[in-house]
Each structure stands twice: as C-alpha cells, then as structure tokens.
Symmetry: C2
Subunit: 208 residues, 2 copies
Amino acid sequence: MRHIAESTVRRLSLYLRVLESFSARGLATISSDELAREGGTTSAQVRKDLSFFGSFGKRGMGYSVPELSTRLREILGLGREWKVWIVGAGKIGAALAQYRGFRQRGFTVVAVYDNDPRLIGKSWDGHKVRDIARLERDAAADRPDIVVLAVPAEQAQPVVDRIVAAGIGAILNFAPAQLHVPRGVTLKSVNMAMELEGLSFLLTNRDA
Amino acid sequence: MRHIAESTVRRLSLYLRVLESFSARGLATISSDELAREGGTTSAQVRKDLSFFGSFGKRGMGYSVPELSTRLREILGLGREWKVWIVGAGKIGAALAQYRGFRQRGFTVVAVYDNDPRLIGKSWDGHKVRDIARLERDAAADRPDIVVLAVPAEQAQPVVDRIVAAGIGAILNFAPAQLHVPRGVTLKSVNMAMELEGLSFLLTNRDA
C-alpha cells in the first residue's frame, strides 16, 4: 500500500464518526459536501482521501452510508478485537483504562500494570493491577496487540525497551518523553502539553 | 501571518523539546540533522519549518540552542502565562488538572468545574471544584484564556455554547464528540479512540 499520511488516517476516523451519526439519524446516503462540512474539511479533500482506497460513491448520488462505513472500518482495522494493555496505573492510566470509547471501537483493555506496591493487586473496572515485573512472562501468554503507555517520563524509555523486547508491536505513548523504538514497532505519542501549545500558537498568532 | 499547518506547529513543539534536552546537556549548538533525527523528520523539513519564521542558524555552523529555543517559545506563545479552566471533573479532567507538564509550559489551571453535586466543593490539588452554574459569572471575573473540556460527549456541545457565549476564545476538547464553534473561536480536539485507530490502521496495513 502507498504511504498514507497520519493526517489522512485521522480524517478517515472523523469521516467514520460522521457516517455513524448519519446512520443513527436513519440517513442512507451522504454527499462529499456533508462529509466535508461535518469533518471540518473540503469536499475535494474528502474525495481525494477516499480515492486512496478505491472508488466509492456515484457522481451526483453521494456515498452509501452503510457501505462507506463498512469500508472505512476495514481500512482502519476496526473489524476485529485488539487486545490492549495499559502500562502505568496513575491518574492518566486510570482514566484511559475506564474510557468507554475504546471498547466501542474494539479495543479491549485486558490488563493494567504498575510498579507501585500500593497499586498492585488493586481492582480497577474488573482488572487487578498487575506487577510490571510480570510483563515479559504475561506478554508471551496474553499476546497483547497494543500497549497504552502512561508512566512518568523518566521511566518511559526503559519500559518501552521491555515492551519491544517482549514482542509487542504497537505503543500509544502518553508520557511526555521522546521515545525510540526499532523499525517494525509502531509508536504514536499523545502529548497533552503539545496540544495546549498548538492552542497557544493559534491564540498568539491569530491577530498577527 | 501565512497559514501554518497544524503538523508544522506540532513539529515546532517537538524541536523545542529537543533543544531543551540539548540545553540540559550543556550543548550550545545543534544541526538541522540533529533536530531532524531527534524530532523524527528530515533535515530538509527542519529547514523548511524554521524558514517560515525568518532565518535561523548559519550554514555549516548549526543553530544556537538558546537563540532558537527563545524564538520557538515566542512563536509558540510560551513567553507568558495562560489561564486554563478544566471543565469536567471526571477521571480525565482529574488527570489533566494535575498534569505537571502544563504548568512547566506556562499553562496554569486556575479553576475546575463540574455539575455533579458529589464533586462540587471537593478539593483537588489546591482547586475547589466549582459549580458549573457559576461559569458565566466567573468567566467575567477570571478571564480564562483556554478551557480544557472533559465532559461526557452528550453534554459537550451545550457546554461549549456556554463557554463561547461567556467570551472564552480557545477550547481543548477531550470529549468524543463533533463540536461546532463560531469563527474566531479556536477549538482543538484530542480523541483517545482516534489515536488508537491510527495505530490499528498502521497494524492492519503494515504488512500489506
């Protein structure tokens, strides 16, 4: 497959959400204009994004809501269950472990880890917090697809190295640290402070 | 100012982090190669990104770490304090209210709001959770710059409408909802499930 930019994938996720809200309202078709308006982009961009993945829709008829939804779910890899571990049972980890939006999308949290004896063994939403010392052994048994990493910045790289060595191929990182992974391992970072910097940039420059 | 893409702003934040780690190691200059390597991009991209904002560095000499840091902080609007409200005192709101990375960047949480009587009045990290009924009155007095929104999806749009009507110009949204704001109001959304979808896309398509 051709390289698809992260921003394109993000818009596909957004289009899927728009389609789902149309579906909930009982609408069977949607135009690229409607997808664009709700998704905050242009109809030309919608057509370009979708053209990466084959031809959808008919000129003047719009797109079939159920067909395009199904296809986008396939493209985004949402047709199956993904096993997710949360590593780091602090405030952010706790919030993520209980986030309903994950399960709705097929992301099932199967375990939560920490190294703090005060947290290990505590029960969270049906998950007993496990000792991170077990990470390697459990990975061989559980075979998680994705680790959501929510440990303090200074612990992040050593934990990532263990996750990678344990054969887990995808990490969603919430630690405010630059992390390095070998080729073949997929790493995405969400940095809350960087999101706010995006806003302060816009606020600072919008009147310039 | 020319329109600067969100992805460019994100890289500027990343470069600033690289510069800070160089500074902490006592290094006075940095090459575009080093910025690129640590920032996960190419040196051509680094030079292009920085060229938007004037000329930096000397050919063959690299960039001055303190000068470029100062300039990036100015560009990103980090030379001042931003007053932040957290609206929604659930798990995610709680995690964000106590996130150290915000304060380090000049984002000061000045108040936390909720509509749940069980939460109102509780103390969090020095903030008493305020009743959201006070939002309009307090906005006139506090003049917050940014609202971090962490309410349930179905409550998000009505709360956003109140925030906008109260004259607050920037919102960082964590609710998994499509929100609409009038022109002149800046809205950024962080959707945890969409971040995971970015990973499932990559996992699904990497061997294709």
